[in-house]
Structure formats: structure tokens, C-alpha cells
């Protein structure tokens, strides 16, 4: 088993004919993901990816005719919130939004609609979700992964690749790797993913990659104290040297009013028994020290 995506994922690509959409769809298919449909309003009936994937005008048609249960969104920011709402309306259970630069005020109603429908949104501004060997939904390079039993959750993109590569190089594989996104308003938080890993029989250890801004790492630490005492955990927090009051690339990575610092997050995680690395390359060693046996 894995969380969020797996062998039962039937993927719909919203924006399959765009440059990003097409490129990453090919990569997903190459590592065995079942891509059952794409959408591009006005091009319904045509086929994408060398005639292998049917294109539909609407998400509802992709669900009814191709049995899509998961969607990934590669649509630019002005249209992305609508794409999320359309997926929810069509009954998609898991929606992964890769798009960067969506205004926060657009995401507030969107995450509420997702919540009320009982669906799950990952992102936006995230690299996606991969369950190595089963499904790759999003833009995380497949080459860095190795199937295994460590769950990875992260607010970042390339930093996650760094940590996952270090794990794979050390012979430590991953059950699922979830990029939750770097925006202030996101559909799924650290805490939500920790709960899913907690309930996943295949995940035996957890790696958290956080960064400055907000209090999601502290929230996750409180949960870990209560429910993940026996689980080997390692973490890395980016932004120890970040100046306060500046947005460090990600819209959500900002120390404001003196809170959201790396030091606070590291202290909270260490108090919860999580080993915090000085460099992402130390993560494999810390997992072993925490008692994980690959």
C-alpha cells in the first residue's frame, strides 16, 4: 500500500496539451502510471501523447468515460482554481495542483469547496506525489526514487529531490513522497500527511522537509509527540540563515512578526523526538540512528 496514489490510481491530466502537461505526462507513463485521460476544452475526441491518451472537453466526461479517479493540474494560475473546482464537481477524489502563482484569495474558497466535498487537494505550487514503482503524479523525477518503507513529506521541490536522492543512494527506499507545496494556502498540510502515513501499514519511518514561515511544522511536531512516538523520524528545515520579513522564493516562506523561524521549528521537532539534520545528506544516517532498518 501507499498513500494518496498507487496501483489503483487512474490519472486524468488537466492541461495535457500544454508544454509542461505533455512533458510530465510522458514521464508519468514511462514509469508505469495509468494515465487514462486528459482534458483540453474544445479538443474533446482527439488523442494526446502519440495517440495513446483520449482527450475530453470536461472532467465529468473523463470520469464517466475513462474512469479517472485522480487528477493532476498543469494549467496556468488564472485558470487553475477553476480546474480544481471542476475536478471536485466531477467527483475526483484526489487532486494534485502543480501550478505556481495562484493568488491566495483564490485558494481560500477552493480549499473550502474541496473540504466540503470530502475530496483531497495536494498543493498548489507543489511537485506532486510519487509512490515509487506504482504511480508518479507530478514533476518529481522518477530517477531519484527507490521503492521502500519511508514516507517523505515536504514543502519544497528540488530540496525534496536532494533528500530523496540521498536516501536512495544509501539504500533507503520510499513508500510515498508527497510535496505539499510552498504557498500560504494549501489543500493538504504536514499534519494531514502524517495522519495518512500513521495509518499506512507500509510506511515504517517518516522524513519531513520543512522551511521557514507559518506553524505547520510545529503542528506536525505536536501530532508526532502524541501519535508517532515509536516511529523513526528525521527532518530538515530550510531557512536558518533567511532574513526576517522577506519572502524566500516560495510565497509561504517568510518570517513575519518574529515567528515562523527555523530555530522555533527545529526546537519543536526535536522536543517531539524527531532528529533534525544540518544538511539533507544527513537524513539517511539520522533515520538509521532513529532505529529504522532498511
Amino acid at each position: 500500500m501507499s498513500i494518496l496514489v498507487g496501483s489503483d490510481t487512474r490519472l486524468l491530466v488537466q492541461g495535457i496539451t500544454g508544454r509542461e502537461g505533455e512533458f510530465h505526462t510522458r514521464a508519468s507513463i514511462a514509469c508505469g502510471t495509468k494515465v487514462v485521460a486528459g482534458t483540453r476544452p474544445g479538443k474533446g475526441g482527439q488523442k494526446a501523447i502519440d495517440g495513446t491518451v483520449p482527450i475530453f472537453d470536461t472532467v465529468a466526461e473523463a470520469v464517466a468515460q475513462a474512469g479517472a479517479n485522480t487528477s493532476v493540474i498543469y494549467i496556468p494560475a488564472p485558470g487553475a482554481p477553476d480546474a480544481i473546482l471542476e475536478a471536485v464537481d466531477a467527483g475526483i477524489e484526489t487532486i494534485v495542483c502543480i501550478t505556481e502563482g495562484i493568488p491566495a484569495l483564490d485558494m481560500i474558497p477552493a480549499v473550502e469547496v474541496v473540504r466540503r466535498a470530502g475530496a483531497r487537494l495536494i498543493g498548489p505550487n507543489c511537485p506532486g506525489v510519487t509512490s515509487p514503482g506504482r504511480a508518479k503524479v507530478g514533476i518529481i523525477p522518477a530517477s531519484i526514487h527507490k521503492p521502500g518503507r519511508v514516507g517523505v513529506v515536504s514543502r519544497s521541490g528540488t530540496l525534496t529531490y536532494e533528500a530523496v536522492q540521498a536516501m536512495s543512494d544509501a539504500g533507503i527506499g520510499q513508500s510515498t513522497c508527497v510535496g505539499i507545496g510552498g504557498d500560504p494556502i494549501i489543500g493538504t498540510t504536514f499534519l494531514d500527511v502524517l495522519k495518512l502515513f500513521h495509518d499506512d501499514p507500509e510506511t515504517e519511518a517518516i522524513v519531513m522537509i520543512g522551511e521557514i514561515g507559518g506553524a505547520a511544522e510545529e503542528e506536525a511536531a505536536a501530532y508526532a509527540t502524541e501519535y508517532l512516538r515509536g516511529v523513526p523520524m528525521a527532518a530538515f528545515i530550510a531557512g536558518r540563515t533567511a532574513p526576517p520579513g522577506r519572502r524566500m522564493g516560495h510565497a509561504g516562506a517568510i518570517i513575519s512578526g518574529g515567528s515562523g523561524t527555523a530555530a522555533e521549528k527545529i526546537a519543536a521537532l526535536e522536543a517531539a523526538g524527531v532528529r533534525v539534520a544540518d544538511s539533507p545528506t544527513q537524513i539517511p544516517r539520522l533515520l538509521l540512528e532513529a532505529g529504522f532498518r532498511p
Binding site: L105, I108, P109, T158, E211, R246, M248
Partner: protein
């Protein structure tokens, strides 16, 4: 994006909020002329306020009262050119001073934890809200606007009641709270703050004394992701206070933040860029900048980014760290080779490129005799050593 008080007040006014009139002046002559107009309109005193994008203007001496136009010009002359937290004051706001009976705080923020717009109010106005939060957190009252319906009148009312307002000020407060929410929505702001929201005493034409709520100060920050659909707001960007490299970075589409250290960093991805800075710090160096070239950067971007880094005279060594995913390692390597051929000064550099097309990148870099590294830690250590060597 932060905007100046005067611009924030314009945005509040556009939503019908009560903001006393003001003028912006850039010279003492303009201050004097503006003050004269306020005195002619019946003001007893005027206030002159420094327009800078940092807090603590009052404490720094950047807010002064004056009883004559002459005096306003004098205090204006002292404030203009003053240094407040490293920023030179280039303009001031001039307005009629009012008689303040009580001060409140009212703010609207995009709250990450609840994923809603939250309105906060406190009867302890006129002081920094962070200070109130530390000293007396119970004095801050909050309501979360409905994510689909918006701020509801009863919510605004409950906030007004919580800070002790009653008829007729309560209704004014409700209208102002709704106006704050509307200002946020209309401009894609992530913070709208009025502090103080003041009760001022006024004498009406019939001689009766009346109390009225007015927005005496305003602070707004705009969501950078929303700016593309508000082209008019781009004009409010204060270029006076901006590092000249910021505009250049925006043009290139990269995230760049100037820092005080000596090691220039070029990285793809924000989290990895912060991590690279942290590792430079960990190995005893100090980063000169945060620089994220973004996903899928081409060689032109790399060349532009290198120019930005080299424009900083403090830079003694450069660390390039690329984990290719969408970004192709060979594109970055080509950009680096081009940049080095054109660069104005020689600075030692260490390059680490892994991921997509890393092998091609390694070949290009080797041919061009670049110093390279395999791991992130090794790259950071080498860069720190190079910077120290260059400093000797």
C-alpha cells in the same frame, strides 16, 4: 509587495472608508505649501509623517506635529533625508492633526492555519499589534470570514462589541470592518491594517460635539501572485526603496534577495536555495544572496543571474547548485560558460550540477576547466574555502 501609507490610504478611500485628507510632499517647499492648505481649511495643527516601508517611524522621530506652515516646513526638512532603519526618507505625508479620544487596532490577514481571512481587533490601538500579542494576547479579538460568503455583518458586529464599541460608533465600526475586507478582496492584499482606528472628537456646524471613527494610519501588503491581474497596483511599487538589482531580477523572472555575506549563490528551487545558504553558513561562510533561477531556466537566465551576483562588490566566491528536474544541467553549464567569457571580474566559482543531463553538464564544465563538486556539502565547503582564499 509592501506599499506606502499614502497609497494604502488611497486604496481604503476607494472602498469608501473614512480617511482624513492628506498630501504627499518631497521637498520642504511642498511640505510648507501643503501645510498652508490645511491651515487655510481650518486645521489647528498638521502632522508630518515619513513615508518609508518599515515600522517604528514614530520612535525614530519620523512623525512630528506642527502649528504653523513654517514649523511644518522645518520638521519636514528634518524628516526628509533622515535615515530610518537604513532607509533614507524621500517623501512625507502631510495631513490635518486630529483630536484623538480613543485608539483601536483593526486588521485583516490571510491566515494560513485556518485557511481563511481573519479580522482582528483590539481596544489597545496605536501600539504594535505584535507587542499586544506578546504582552496581552487576550486583548486581541478575532473572527474568521466565511470562505465562501465573505465577512458577514454579525461577525463584524461581534468584533466591534468585543472591543467595547456601542451605538453610534458600533455601526461605523461594522462599515469599516466590511470596508477592510472589501479592500483586501479588491486588491488581492494579504494584509490590511488600520492602526490606529481612532475615535476623533469633532465640532459640527451646530456647535454640537460628535465622535467619529477614522482611519489614521494604513498598512497594506499585496499578494505578489495577485499583481498580474492588477496592473494599476504595479505603479505603487516604491522604486525609491528598492535595491536596483530587484528590478533586474524581476525582469529575468528570478527570485533574488541581496544579503550581507561574501558567497554568491545560484540555485534552482526556493527550498534548495535556502538550504544552500544554510550550508554556506554551517561551514563558516556567509551567503551574499538568495537566488532561485526557477524551474526550467535557460542559459540566458543563468547569464543574467551571474551578472546580478557579480554586481555585488562583496562577492568573493560563487556557489552554483543545480538539482536538475525540469531544469537541464547542460543548459545551466552552457550559461555559466557564456557568462564567464563575458564577466567583468574574475571570481572563484564552484559548480555542482546533478539530476537531468548532469553527465553532459559535467563534460562541458570539465572542458571549460570549472571547479566542480559532487555533493551539496562538498560544494558549500569548497565555496567557503575559496572565499577565504580570495579574501587573503
Amino acid at each position: 509587495m509592501k506599499i506606502q501609507e499614502a497609497d494604502a490610504k488611497s486604496l481604503l478611500l476607494a472602498q469608501g472608508l473614512p480617511v482624513p485628507p492628506w498630501e504627499v510632499a518631497r521637498t520642504t517647499a511642498e511640505v510648507e505649501a501643503a501645510a498652508q492648505r490645511f491651515f487655510a481649511a481650518g486645521s489647528d495643527r498638521v502632522v508630518v509623517k515619513a513615508q518609508v516601508l518599515v515600522g517604528g517611524r514614530g520612535k525614530a522621530g519620523g512623525v512630528k506635529l506642527a502649528s504653523t506652515a513654517r514649523e511644518a516646513a522645518e520638521v519636514g526638512g528634518r524628516i526628509l533625508g533622515m535615515d530610518i532603519k537604513g532607509i533614507t526618507v524621500r517623501k512625507v505625508l502631510v495631513g490635518a492633526a486630529v483630536e484623538i479620544a480613543r485608539e483601536f487596532y483593526l486588521g485583516a490577514i490571510v491566515d494560513r492555519a485556518s485557511r481563511r481571512i481573519v479580522l482582528m481587533a483590539s481596544a489597545e490601538g496605536g501600539v504594535e499589534i505584535e507587542e499586544v500579542a506578546r504582552q496581552n494576547p487576550g486583548a486581541i479579538h478575532r473572527v474568521s470570514a466565511d470562505p465562501l460568503l465573505g465577512l458577514l455583518a454579525f461577525q463584524a458586529r461581534s468584533l466591534g462589541l468585543a472591543v467595547g464599541l456601542r451605538d453610534p460608533l458600533l455601526n461605523q465600526f461594522v462599515a469599516i470592518a466590511e470596508g477592510l475586507y472589501a479592500t483586501m478582496k479588491a486588491n488581492d492584499a494579504d494584509l490590511v491594517e488600520v492602526n490606529p482606528l481612532a475615535v476623533v472628537a469633532e465640532t459640527a456646524v451646530d456647535g454640537a460635539r460628535r465622535e467619529r471613527l477614522v482611519c489614521l494610519d494604513a498598512k497594506i501588503t499585496l499578494d505578489d501572485s495577485g499583481l498580474s491581474r492588477h496592473h494599476d497596483l504595479e505603479a505603487l511599487r516604491d522604486l525609491d526603496e528598492e535595491d536596483p538589482t530587484d528590478a533586474q531580477a524581476r525582469k529575468l523572472g528570478i527570485n533574488f534577495i541581496h544579503l550581507d555575506g561574501s558567497i554568491g549563490c545560484m540555485v534552482n528551487g526556493a527550498g534548495l536555495a535556502m538550504t544552500t545558504m544554510d550550508l554556506v553558513g554551517h561551514y563558516g561562510g556567509a551567503p551574499a544572496n538568495f537566488l532561485d533561477i526557477g524551474g526550467g531556466a535557460r542559459h540566458e537566465t543563468v547569464r543574467g543571474a551571474m551578472e546580478l551576483i557579480l554586481a555585488d562588490p562583496n562577492v568573493r566566491a560563487i556557489l552554483v547548485n543545480i538539482f536538475g528536474g525540469i531544469t537541464r544541467g547542460d543548459e545551466v553549464a552552457e550559461g555559466l560558460i557564456e557568462a564567464r567569457a563575458q564577466q567583468s571580474r574574475e571570481v572563484p566559482m564552484v559548480v555542482r550540477i546533478v539530476g537531468t543531463n548532469a553527465a553532459e553538464a559535467a563534460r562541458l564544465l570539465q572542458e571549460a576547466r570549472f571547479e566542480t563538486a559532487i555533493t551539496l556539502d562538498e560544494a558549500a565547503e569548497k565555496a567557503v574555502a575559496l572565499a577565504k582564499g580570495a579574501a587573503r
